[in-house]
Symmetry: C2
Subunit: 171 residues, 2 copies
DNA sequence: GCTAAGCTTCAATATTTTTTGGAAGAAGTT
DNA sequence: AACTTCTTCCAAAAAATATTGAAGCTTAGC
């Protein structure tokens, strides 16, 4: 009986890791990185590199690289246990924090560079009819992007509780 | 002088196509697909397959596949010119419509399947301590995902003008 | 300063994703 | 029906990405 439940738990974990991995690959995140994240998300305690390698059957190098990347994204934290040299890793469990970090990072790495490109482009153009048409379209995109930028900025700065309570209900 | 402006226009277009392409590849969209989209976005008039192939230097098959995919996403529309057999393609220019379509598609293809997986998983679990911990984490993720789902649902159903006016200012 | 545990790096390799080009299909014209 | 013009499909090739494994590095403890 207990044995049977344990099999289910294992299956459940497996399923979640697979699903999260698949999700990641549609979002420009490597499957493995998303799986490491999933594994840590559903692990109540911090795991060491060895354990992650073993669970996901990946090499040391691979594990290391993906863990670093997750730390860079602010989705995973390093944890040191007194008297041990090994590093342990623990995922941020608060889903709003997770999404918030992702928004912050992607805004910085993608939206902001795009805004700069749009600025450059608008600056350059200006006389013939074709230029005007192009310029008009770019201005439109710029306007939208700026709105998106400031909305995201405010979103990430707002308090999680307020957000979940007031804001989500309101729409 | 006019010649010089034309060069700038060309450069501007080039830059935009490159930037949009790079953006796409961080979002699980192939670079070429994003470039086709960019090219159509900044083109005041609809373009035929030939023109797209020529501008982006891609093969017929590649152009075709990516155009179809963009149509599936609802980002590009087919346009037939009376008396011509060729098909022309025109991008949706309203950025809110663009984003709206993307949200609708990704919600359907990613968020909803994930919700189903989360349901399956919660159903299975239940006795030992480990199961309980796992279950608790999954429930948390499910709660958040459901909230995200209904928020996106409402977002995509709301009117663009109201959204841009009231909502964005409010936060 | 030496050793050993553990972390990092990176060139080689494997895998996945994209692209191509051509053959087959569809549809309008003579 | 044969011809033309364009679209679609798909297997092979190319390109891009991810993964491995082992060498090298770092640091704590002796």
């Amino acid at each position: 009986m207990v044995e049977e439940e344990k099999i289910d738990l294992k299956e459940g974990k497996e399923k979640f890791i697979q699903a999260w991995g698949a999700l990641g690959s549609n979002w420009g995140v490597s499957r493995t990185m998303a799986q490491v994240h999933a594994l840590l998300l559903i692990s109540p305690k911090a795991l060491c590199a060895e354990k992650i390698m073993e669970e996901l059957k990946i090499s040391r190098g691979n594990a290391n690289m993906n863990i670093r990347a997750l730390i860079d994204w602010g989705l995973v934290h390093k944890e040191l246990h007194p008297g041990e040299r090994k590093e342990y890793f623990r995922a941020e469990k608060d889903m709003w924090e997770v999404v918030r970090n992702i928004i912050i990072q992607r805004k910085k790495k993608e939206l902001e560079p795009m805004l700069r490109v749009l600025d450059e482009i608008t600056a350059v153009e200006g006389v013939c009819e074709q230029s005007d048409e192009f310029c008009k379209i770019i201005k439109d995109i710029k306007l939208f992007s700026n709105k998106a930028d400031s909305t995201l900025e405010k979103l990430t700065k707002s308090d999680a509780n307020w957000l979940m309570g007031t804001f989500f209900k309101m729409i």
